[in-house]
Amino acid sequence: MEDFTKKSEESSSSNWWNWATASLAGLLSLPILVVLGYLFTPAGEIWSHLVETVLADYVSNSLLLMFGVAIGSLLLGVGTAWLASMCSFPGRGIFEWMLLLPLAIPAYIIAYTYTGMLDFSGPVQSTIRDITGWGYGEYWFPEIRSLWGAALMLSLVLYPYVYLLTRAAFLNQSLCVLDVSRTLGNGPWRTFFTVALPLARPSIVAGLSLALMETLADYGTVQYFGVSTFTTGIFRTWYGLDNAAAAAQLSAMLLLFVFTLILLERNSRKKSRYHNTSQRHQSISRIPLKGWQSVGAITYCGAAVLFGFLLPASQLGIWATTVSEESIDGAFIDLISNSLLLGGVSALLALLLALFLSYGQRLHNKPIVKFSVRLSGMGYAVPGTVIAVGVIIPFAWLDNSFDSWMRAQFDVSTGLILSGTLFVLIFAYLVRFLAVSLQTVEAGLGRIKPSMDEAARSLGYKPNEVLRFVHLPMLKGSLLTAFLLVFVDVLKELPATLILRPFNFNTLAVRAYELAADERLADAAPASLAIVATGILPVILLSYSITKSRKTK
């Protein structure tokens, strides 16, 4: 009788998980809830001033930017996905993973790199003047620092989202439907437009929504190019007008845009699941391209890789070598260690939380646990600026209340305990990036069949021992991936870091941005290059999983 587990004990363990996951979810969704709460607070004077003057600009610029990025990333993403997955031409295998490389470059870095290249004194215009003998003002050259320039920059680094999802969709549908279409007398190109493209549409839309979410979240590019959007508006209202409420209200409006995109993405993903009619996809018979077709394909894919990665990366490399001696000093080492510290700690915490949440969900698949897990992962779509505003408001309130209480009681001023420290910054990173590691860990756990747990239980292992002896060894790969993804995301993150970092605390991203904003483009290059180099890590992971999935086919 002694080893009897009473039902009440079981349900108390279940209760514990319910409470723990629910409070974690509550904490992590607090910033978003705070921001959304401002939708219902009465609008102040500054808000009505904003509405009269700049709000229309913010909305129209954000919409135009999204429109431009949509066109750009579709043009670059869908065509390359079709060529790299379904056609055969020289170099296809290399392009398949190289097309992902632009993901490694944050949009603000590519933006100032191109600015440097295309400026009046940059290499492109200088060459034009040398050849033609024209002088200043005697020729027209497109202005890169404009809304359409920003859209182009964002498209160049965001099209891989469309490419990735579309490519997967093409590969999934490959065998059955495409062959059926061919047997019904449709040529390969007709098949592309009448079967493959419509079938891939949900995935294309899902990829596009991700790219557009990143567009809405972008701060560095639009700020650098002087385009007024929501994110720059939030910054200006926060620092320039010093008005938290109005900034939060702008953030809340931005969130409504984001939620529309989330709904679009969710909906499309659901559909794309139903659209896969066949589980097995054997080796694809790729369409061989003839001579000039191959040249076209190579030019198309090559242009995407060249302009999205090779060109800006080389420019950064050139700049970095010209300034390497003076700029790589003790301060630069500090930047690197600060970034590594932030990225490492945040990635580790995100990993632990993700493991905790997804294992809780596996053990107790109750609606409340499931809902909490979904809620905790909500931040992935929320722009860093919005999260920063949502984090700072409650923590500043907490700090101030504690400070005034301490002053009243003990006549001691505690200052800002939480909101001026790395604590809030790491918390903001967790809110923003937990979803990344959560998704990876969940997917990894999902691949472990429940019968594994049961087999271990039947062999005398308690649930926590099952986690240690069965799940963790099997999850090694997923855990490493989750850690790396969050680490790199934190390293690249700009707006939340700008707002929340402690005084005099710099990271690679912040420093690169500041130097570029001061027009010291070459000086910004070493930090940028470090970010791009780390950014290549997840690209390698992605292309590794691509080659692996090809091998198992």
């Binding site: 080893d3 009897f4 049961e454 039947s458 062999l459 005398g460 069965v470």
Partner: protein, 363 residues
């Protein structure tokens, strides 16, 4: 023999909906039992309740004299000393064959573990593969590893959940017999869940037929085939058809096809309508017989033909005939009845009749 597993009046429910109800049976030490039934009948839920993965809605389960499950109290699986073989084997991919086998023996000392692993490697003929990982093994080898892993810590009872379902049909019966030998050699008490009656026949001492959440009959293979407890069991086990008849005097039944058979179900009055089970081997082809039926359909089975015959009043019966009797569809052939054990059930409109032949285990 002492009782090893005692299942008393057990019901299992998901979200308040009962999947199995009122299950009773016992297994003696060293006996191999089987829960046999169509998919979705609740047999797997019952097995999972015995393992401790599902709580009970009513009843009790005793393992080796100790109560392990009752309403509101479930000893967790890891404290039951059970071994389980899963449908997908669930081998740990990160462990080698011998590490998989020793996984459940961590409480034994090193020397004991090593010798038990050696013993099982020999028993399952896995010695050559001990350092390989599961993905390098064939399906049959994986299954032997799963079995060895489950038997490793010498469990009180071994539970096998459709262990052959991923095997080729030809392999199954052969494997079932092999595994029976291994289990008997080790003296293991085991219970098997399957939907395949030939697997059950090949492996089990006692078989429980589960249908629509109830245990219909608990008996050995021979009795299940020849004395099915109800129409569900008779339809599920073996081949056969039900034909109608009427009880006449002296406990005899007049079949509507014209023949007279006996005995009628107990307590059935003269005039009662009954259903009679006719197996294909109950009907003998005889060219001299007066009784001739038209061939509706035929299936060649190598050694014999299985003819589907139509009686004059439209009932269909099956008849197994040696395969050199090659008749065409539409021909009439002579048959006679040769029933060794007659199985008959009163029809529903004969309410006062009792079920006959109920070989319930309570008796």
């Amino acid at each position: 023999m002492p009782i090893q597993l005692d299942v008393k009046n057990v019901s299992v429910a998901y979200d308040g909906v009962a999947v199995v109800t009122g299950i009773n049976f016992t297994l003696d030490v060293g006996q191999i039992g089987c829960l046999l039934g169509p998919s979705g009948c609740g047999k797997t839920s019952l097995l999972r309740a015995i393992a401790g993965f599902e709580p009970l809605a009513s009843g009790e389960i005793h393992l080796h004299g100790k109560q392990v499950s009752s309403v509101g109290a479930t000893t967790p699986p890891e404290k039951r000393r059970i071994g389980m073989v899963f449908q997908d084997f669930a081998l740990f991919p990160h462990l080698s064959v011998s590490e998989n086998i020793s996984f459940g023996m961590r409480l034994m000392d090193k020397k004991q573990t090593a010798s038990r692993v050696e013993e099982l490697l020999d028993l399952m003929e896995l010695r050559a593969f001990r350092h390989q990982h599961p993905h390098e093994l064939s399906g049959g080898q994986q299954q032997r590893v799963a079995l060895a892993r489950a038997m490793g810590p010498k469990p009180e009872i071994l539970l096998l959940d459709e262990p052959f379902s991923s095997m080729d049909a030809e392999l199954r019966e052969h494997l079932a017999r092999d595994i029976r030998l291994v289990l008997k050699k080790d003296g293991v008490t085991a219970i098997l869940v399957t939907h395949d009656q030939f697997e059950a026949f090949a492996m089990a001492d006692e078989i429980g037929v589960v249908g629509e959440g109830q245990l219909r009959q608990w008996n050995n293979a021979y009795e299940l085939y020849h004395r099915p407890a109800d129409t569900m069991v008779s339809a599920f086990i073996g081949m056969g058809v039900m034909v109608s008849g009427q009880v006449i005097e002296n406990g005899q039944i007049a079949l509507s096809m014209g023949e007279i058979v006996k005995p009628a179900p107990e307590n059935c009055e003269v005039g009662c309508m009954v259903s009679v089970l006719l197996r294909p081997d109950d009907l003998i082809h005889d060219d001299d017989s007066q009784l001739t039926f038209k061939i509706e359909d035929r299936a060649f089975r190598g050694a014999e033909f299985l003819y589907t015959l139509k009686t004059p009043d439209g009932e269909k019966v099956l008849c197994m005939v040696q395969s050199h009797h090659n008749h065409q569809i539409g021909e009439k052939i002579g048959v006679r009845l040769d029933v060794q054990h007659l199985t008959s059930f009163p029809m529903s409109d004969c309410s006062e009749c009792q079920l006959t032949n109920c070989q319930s285990h309570q008796s």
